[in-house]
Symmetry: C2
Subunit: 427 residues, 2 copies
């Protein structure tokens, strides 16, 4: 029996979950793997508050470096969050030759290359399953189970807060602001909520997924990012009429040797599995050239689900398994598909004046920009003088949509801001 | 760069898929992992037929042992199927100290303990991701990502043929025999189809899942097994009216320290993800005590999906990673929950004579056997003199259902064979 001593940096929600999981199932893990995990030290600025788990006071310290530099500690678990201090901690640990487990997607998205190079140089692994999809073992699936696949596409519902908001808007007919306010009150959304609802958290996770799928750290600015802030319930209702649900999707797709990467609210066909991912759950749909379509689903956040992923990584680090740093440095740079050249279908919702030729005027602008219309739905109810009209288009280039939307917004017959969202057919 | 030479036993559909995958993506895998897989030798009784992949004739042999005993071969891939010869091959390879990759669930279910003991003794790993769920990396998820979890339950749709038949019956309103005959014509079902439609193939895979989840080879007879043979379209229709779909489920569940294991057609609520698993796809729903609910979905069979899993295992074997034989031998024997004491809800469909007190008579028998009724649905259409009546029960013990069904079948007012299926609420 080999014992592995863990040093935890950051004794917050997830840190306490990791301690709870190890106290509960450490013995079971040792039967399974021959390795017994034990808590060596825990660093946090607050070592007084009760976290609901029993920890000997002698294990607690306010000095993170005293944990990182302790020769008795075998594996460092970084759960402090943020980028600056976390990066210092991780680099120092790797330099000390200690494997590091982290759940910090912002850190990986902002400083991935530097960290993986430090890991490759020192030979100490960097493990990050918990950074994407909480407890879902999806990074392992990409790296191990699907190692023999070229990844054709990844579609992810990666932010539990957004999915929770969208689910409640849909089920209860509520507007965005009302659900957000209640989610904040219940602790399901942070204050301020920007990182979640503006899509940045989803983008951080998508960066990690894309980096692993294609073997090079992807820069954050490779992604076009749009969140769900201010999404109207009307969109959800109209999408439903047309057979779709709205999800905040990360889309990573190989297009003729280049990688298309974007985060945006998208219409998903109701009979697709991703449309059935509700509440705070996450799911990652991965298509490989050999395996075909796969889906990986579970709780995307929270004390214990995230702890489950952290513990899996601790055991992997303890077993001396390669964390995959070389893999992530296999290529210098990824060929990124120009976002303006992305081909998508769109949902357009316009408020048009109630007069005879309005649809023709819009159709004319779309046609001029090489966008053909697949379906038009005019809702019966008028909103004052305006008629809400929804267009579903065929595939066209993003730049053509941008140009057309500018022209459409300037038409006299169009009131208010036109709404545009991508439709995903998973083809 | 390390090269790993693979010896393939059995050049059938999957064997050819493995060769195709390695020829296509071997270079990519070597960039990712530093290990270059190459085909060393292939053994099959038929070395003449064209498999649609380009293989140098000098690699082919009809003598499996010449591959197993070749010191140049690093990893043996067993794809011959069946139990007897396959077992001889695997044992000999392990004895030679060569890691073995297999997709053979029947072999693992019938002879798992012997094989894992041979693996543990020789130190050569036995890898079997492809034996369950085709390309879905679900065994890895259990072993690695979820290593810190006690497994509370597993619900699996594990047989693509059955799921394909059920999907077509449901979508097209067809009867079982018609769909089966067409599936056989199209090559989606084997002739004879017994192994699939009678649930045995599902049980083989469930044995592998349960063995890994609970750390001991599970004997086949621990499972009660019922297939979908002869399922009437009426059941699918009535289940749909009540908000359910019928799936052939493997259920593995921890109940008060014992393991409940069964394979049977079951009613799944329409809004559960497993109800949205269509056609030949497979899915495994796993609940862990730390991670909560997870789902793992993909193609459960076929040339390339299965090859994806085999290739993942080859790379793992090549990296010298432990296959988990010790894990599977952690316990001598699992405590198996007495099938008669299993607590389930049931769907009962009876054909009753069209007279006033018939429902009361059935309700009386159920009540006498401690089974309470949650809902009764009497369909308007009569079938001749008979009225189809469906009862949904609350939870009751299997032995009470057995006793009640015997009494009900003997009632004068009951015509034909009563139908009983489990309802799964995933609670």
């Amino acid at each position: 029996m080999k014992e592995v001593k863990i040093g935890i940096l950051g004794f917050g929600t997830v840190g306490a979950g990791v301690v709870e999981g190890i106290l509960k199932n450490g013995e079971l893990m040792s039967q399974r793997t021959g390795i017994l995990p034990s808590i060596g030290k825990i660093a946090d600025l607050d070592i007084e508050s009760d976290r609901g788990v029993k920890v000997d006071a002698s294990l607690l310290t306010t000095n993170a470096f005293s944990v990182i530099d302790d020769p008795e500690i075998d594996v460092i678990v970084e759960l402090v969050g943020g980028v600056k201090a976390a990066k210092d901690f991780v680099l120092r640990a790797l330099k000390n030759g200690k494997p590091v487990v982290t759940a910090n997607k912002a850190l990986l998205a902002e400083a991935g290359r530097e960290l993986f190079e430090a890991s490759a140089k020192s030979g100490a692994g960097l493990y990050f399953e918990a950074s994407v999809g909480g407890g879902i073992p999806v990074l392992r699936a990409l790296r191990d189970g699907l190692v023999g696949n070229q990844i054709k596409s990844i579609y992810g519902i990666l932010n539990g807060t957004c999915n929770y908001i969208l689910t409640r808007m849909e089920r209860e007919g509520l507007e965005f602001d009302a659900v957000l306010a209640e989610a904040q009150k219940l602790g399901y959304a942070e204050t301020p909520p920007d990182l979640d609802i503006d899509g940045l958290d989803t983008a951080h996770k998508a960066v990690v997924l894309a980096s692993l799928a294609y073997g090079a750290p992807v820069p954050m600015d490779a992604f076009t990012v749009e969140g769900i802030r201010g999404l109207s319930h009307r969109e959800i209702e109209y999408a439903d009429d047309l057979g779709y649900r709205i999800k905040l999707l990360a889309v990573i797709r190989e297009v003729a040797g280049e990688i298309e990467m974007r985060v945006e609210p998208s219409l998903v066909p109701q009979d697709h599995l991703l449309a059935s991912v509700h509440d705070a759950f996450n799911a990652v749909f991965v298509e490989g050239d050999v395996v075909g379509e796969t889906l990986h689903y579970g709780r995307g956040a929270g004390r214990l689900p995230t702890a489950s992923a952290v513990i899996g990584d601790i055991m992997e680090a303890a077993a001396g398994r390669d964390g995959g740093s070389a893999w992530l440095l296999a290529h210098k740079k990824l060929p990124i598909h120009n976002p303006q050249e992305v081909s998508i279908r769109c949902y357009l919702r316009l408020s048009l004046k109630d007069q005879p030729d309005v649809i023709a005027q819009v159709a004319h602008v779309l046609g001029k920009n090489n966008i053909s219309i697949g379906a038009v739905m005019q809702k019966e109810q008028n909103v004052g003088e305006q008629v809400p009209v929804v267009f579903l288009t065929h595939h066209a280039l993003e730049k053509n949509f941008v140009a057309a939307m500018k022209e459409i917004a300037a038409l006299d017959v169009v009131d208010g801001e036109p709404v545009r969202m991508a439709i995903e057919d998973f083809e």
